[in-house]
């Protein structure tokens, strides 16, 4: 009886293995077809604040006056905003087209520089973006935008000294709120997390009254600061508070989803991340959450989607963002050595907490503590208090 049962199980699993191998193999068949009937919806367009006619009118106007600075700047700014709200990068391409006439210009007008820098930053050309912003700031020393952007990019690449300098410059003429909002993310990673937490809380009453749109950002920041300080219950409360205010806020949901995933609350994370959209970062997180909560077929589908997106990005001569690729390699493919290599490459030009985390986690999984030394040194020098990063560092040192 027992032998029979064993054989039954063995036979069953082999059959499932064989059939699933075949179904995975055939899932790649994506040949063109004719949809069944006229009412089949092929694409849902994102809602944007402009009609197609308006977009076409702007384009025609641009073709007629390709050198009109004000027109180009307005168009670029609108397109960049649409790209942000929809997550569709083709609008960044349209923004680029609007200022194409100045793309290689060593000394374009200040307003053009502002958007050129933004596009370069989005393209991960941090050096180019910094150059443009410095020139922008030189032309308009009292322009807050230039300094905010500059501080932000310096923070992303881990140059906290320069980032603080930009904040200092801003504080000379900016309002208290402007300066605080610019300073908080830098304080968070340079040993002033407690102060940053208090500063964030102090801005909330003013923000609620005067700039309601900034409240959810402040609450997410506060939650992240609580996480950095190791008070996960408090962080959780701030996230909840934020989602009570704006339940469908994409960024808050994603940040909370990532937080939950790291806390081992995969099922809640999956619910929080929801059906992932075109954002690869959210899709990778959702795939990990699905896989950890035992939703195998869902995880398989999303895994296939991630792979296809990465493949198509490579095909066009680009490459997937190393941050997400390394998470995907580590968590879904379980190949820590490859995840580590990708994480290190990413970290060499981008040093946000997640990038450091990816290196440490992959190094730990790969049993290669030496590879993480530059990251550990960097974190020590910058004075990080990030509880999660420090836990990983401790485990690596063992």
């Amino acid at each position: 009886m027992n032998a029979s049962l064993l054989v039954a199980i063995q036979f069953g699993t082999s059959l499932i293995f064989l059939l699933s191998a075949i179904s995975v193999a055939t899932a790649g068949d994506l040949s063109p077809y004719e949809p069944k009937n006229d009412s089949v919806v092929l694409e849902r367009l994102p809602t944007i604040p402009y009609s197609r006619d308006q977009l076409v009118a702007v384009r025609k106007e641009l073709t007629r006056n390709p050198k009109n600075v004000q027109l180009a700047a307005t168009a670029a700014s609108s397109y960049i905003n649409v790209a942000k709200s929809t997550g569709d990068p083709r609008f960044l391409g349209y923004a680029r087209a609007a200022i194409e006439g100045w793309w290689d210009d060593p000394d374009p007008p200040a307003t053009i520089l502002e958007f050129r820098a933004k596009l370069k930053e989005r393209d991960h050309d941090f050096k180019g973006a910094i150059g443009d912003l410095q020139l922008f700031s030189k032309k308009e020393p009292e322009n807050a935008q230039a300094l905010v952007d500059l501080a932000n990019i310096y923070r992303v690449i881990g140059d906290y000294e320069q980032a603080n300098e930009a904040v200092e410059q801003l504080s000379a003429f900016g309002t208290e709120f402007q300066t605080a909002v610019c300073r908080i993310p830098i304080m968070a990673v340079t040993g002033f997390a407690h102060e940053a937490y208090d500063l964030t809380g102090a801005q909330l009453p003013f923000a609620r009254q005067s700039i309601p749109d900034s409240v959810s950002w402040l609450l997410v920041m506060q939650a992240d600061l609580a996480r950095i300080l190791g008070d996960f219950d408090l962080a959780d409360r701030h996230y909840q508070e934020c989602l009570k205010d704006s339940p469908s806020n994409r960024y808050a949901r994603r940040a909370y989803g990532e937080f939950l995933l790291k806390r081992g609350r995969a099922k809640e994370a999956l619910k929080m991340l929801g059906e992932p959209d075109s954002d690869n970062g959210a899709l990778v997180l959702a795939t990990i959450a699905a896989s950890r909560s035992g939703r195998t077929s869902l995880a398989e589908n999303w895994k296939f989607m991630v792979e296809r997106r990465f493949e198509e990005l490579r095909l066009r001569g680009g490459k997937p963002h190393g941050r997400f690729e390394s998470q995907f390699l580590l968590e879904i493919h379980g190949v820590p050595e490859e995840a580590l290599a990708v994480a290190l490459t990413t970290w060499s030009h981008q040093k946000e907490a997640t990038d450091s985390y990816n290196v440490l986690a992959a190094a730990l999984a790969a049993g290669d503590a030496d590879a993480a030394i530059p990251v550990i040194d960097f974190l020590r020098e910058s004075g990080t208090e990030d509880s999660e990063l420090l836990t990983l560092v401790k485990r690596l040192r063992k």
């Binding site: 700014s77 905003n81 942000k84 960024y251």
Partner: protein, 383 residues
């Protein structure tokens, strides 16, 4: 410019700048896919041009009722406008001669970033085929980050090219491919075909199930050793390959040609016969003989696949040989998984009752459905 007067507006932009987790660049920007295939005789091209619906919406407007949903009906309505706009921005040349392009069919497909309209073009090439070139400027003026991805396949090789504003013209290379590469390609095609060809797999399984048993005084008994089971299996698989190699060759060379519906139905019937034979030895033949006879039929089925893959006269023998080797390897891989399990299980009641009989019946039912569908052109599974 006064900062403070624009303050609320500027602040919105700021928040985005400050938020640490916006990764717009993590998405795929706009691409179109241009698949160009040269037919066997080198007289016509089969072109499939896939353009994102989101791009077409901006270029010419598809969403006519403005509900932010693009339907198949809306897309079809705009077919002429799409064709006019797109064909104006694509030029294929055969040597110095421009190839006439016209949209013959409109289809739909999906990529990782959404829906794509597929324009099917099948231009004829007048005169001898010289080097083909493509000039392309779809969207470059309104989106310099747009890329055209070209996949060119002339039957021997497949190459990928990237079109960008700074590189909007490309020559399609038709360099001859080494026989070795071709051989490997067809081995892989053979393996692949076996793995996705359910009917061949089921035929094989139905033949293999009795390989670990033998009949004595009307009763099934387990074969004593692993080696005899292995030899029986190897004989079945190899004879099957030998048989279908023969008909595959006959069909590809056009010496024998049978209607494909007849072949497909007969393949399904062959499975039914093997299953029935597992219960009552109606054929009085051993496994390898059955494999040989029906292998001849399966060979015609493979031939249809091989012709679809596009065979060129050069290196035909290599392609055929490679495909057969691939089929054999694909079968052996299945045997490697299956044989040890059924060998270990052969002595149990479970094997005889559920795997051998139950499995045979299940395979028989599937084959019967296939047979009815194929022979009488029915649709029983709703697929």
């Amino acid at each position: 410019m006064s900062v403070h007067s624009h303050w609320p507006l500027l602040f919105l932009v700021w928040l985005f700048a400050l938020l640490p987790c916006i990764e717009v660049e993590a998405h795929k920007p706009s691409d179109s896919y241009l698949r160009i295939q040269m037919d066997e005789e080198g007289e016509a091209l089969h072109v499939q041009w896939e353009i994102a619906l989101k791009d077409l919406e901006l270029l010419i407007g598809i969403d006519s009722d403005g509900d932010r949903n693009i339907t198949w009906g809306e897309l079809k309505e705009r077919r002429d406008a799409i064709a006019a706009h797109a064909l104006n921005r694509l030029e294929i040349k055969n040597g110095i001669q421009k190839v006439e392009l016209a949209v013959e069919d409109l289809l739909f497909t999906e990529h990782s970033d959404g829906g794509y309209a597929v324009l099917v073009l099948t231009p004829e090439l007048s005169g001898s085929t010289e080097s083909l070139s493509v000039r392309y400027d779809l969207l470059f003026d309104i989106d310099p980050t747009h890329r055209g991805l070209v996949v060119y396949d002339n039957g021997d090789i497949s190459n990928t090219y990237l079109l960008s504003p700074s590189n909007d013209t490309i020559e399609l290379s038709s360099a001859p491919v080494s026989l070795w590469t071709k051989f490997l390609k067809f081995i892989w095609e053979g393996i692949w075909h076996i793995w996705i060809g359910f009917d061949h797999i089921l035929f094989l399984i139905a033949l293999l199930l009795p390989a670990v048993l033998y009949r004595e005084k009307g009763e099934w008994r387990p074969v004593p050793g692993f080696l005899p089971a292995c030899l029986t299996t190897l004989k079945i698989v190899s004879v099957f390959t030998l048989a279908h190699s023969i008909t595959l060759w006959l069909a590809v060379m056009d010496y024998v040609s049978l209607p494909s519906r007849f072949i497909e139905a007969t393949i399904a019937a062959s499975i039914i016969v093997v299953v029935v034979n597992n219960f009552h030895s109606i054929l009085k033949l051993s496994g390898w003989m059955i494999a040989f006879i029906f292998g001849l039929i399966h060979g015609f089925g493979f031939a249809n696949v091989l012709v679809d893959l596009g065979l060129s006269a050069s290196g035909l023998a290599i392609s055929l040989f490679g495909f057969n080797v691939g089929v054999e390897l694909g079968q052996l891989a299945i045997v490697f998984v299956l044989l040890p399990i059924i060998f270990l299980a052969r002595g149990t009641t479970f094997y005889r009752r559920y795997v051998y009989f139950g499995g045979s019946i299940l395979i028989g039912i599937i084959a019967l459905i296939w047979f009815l569908e194929r022979a009488f052109n029915l649709n029983l599974t709703g697929g």
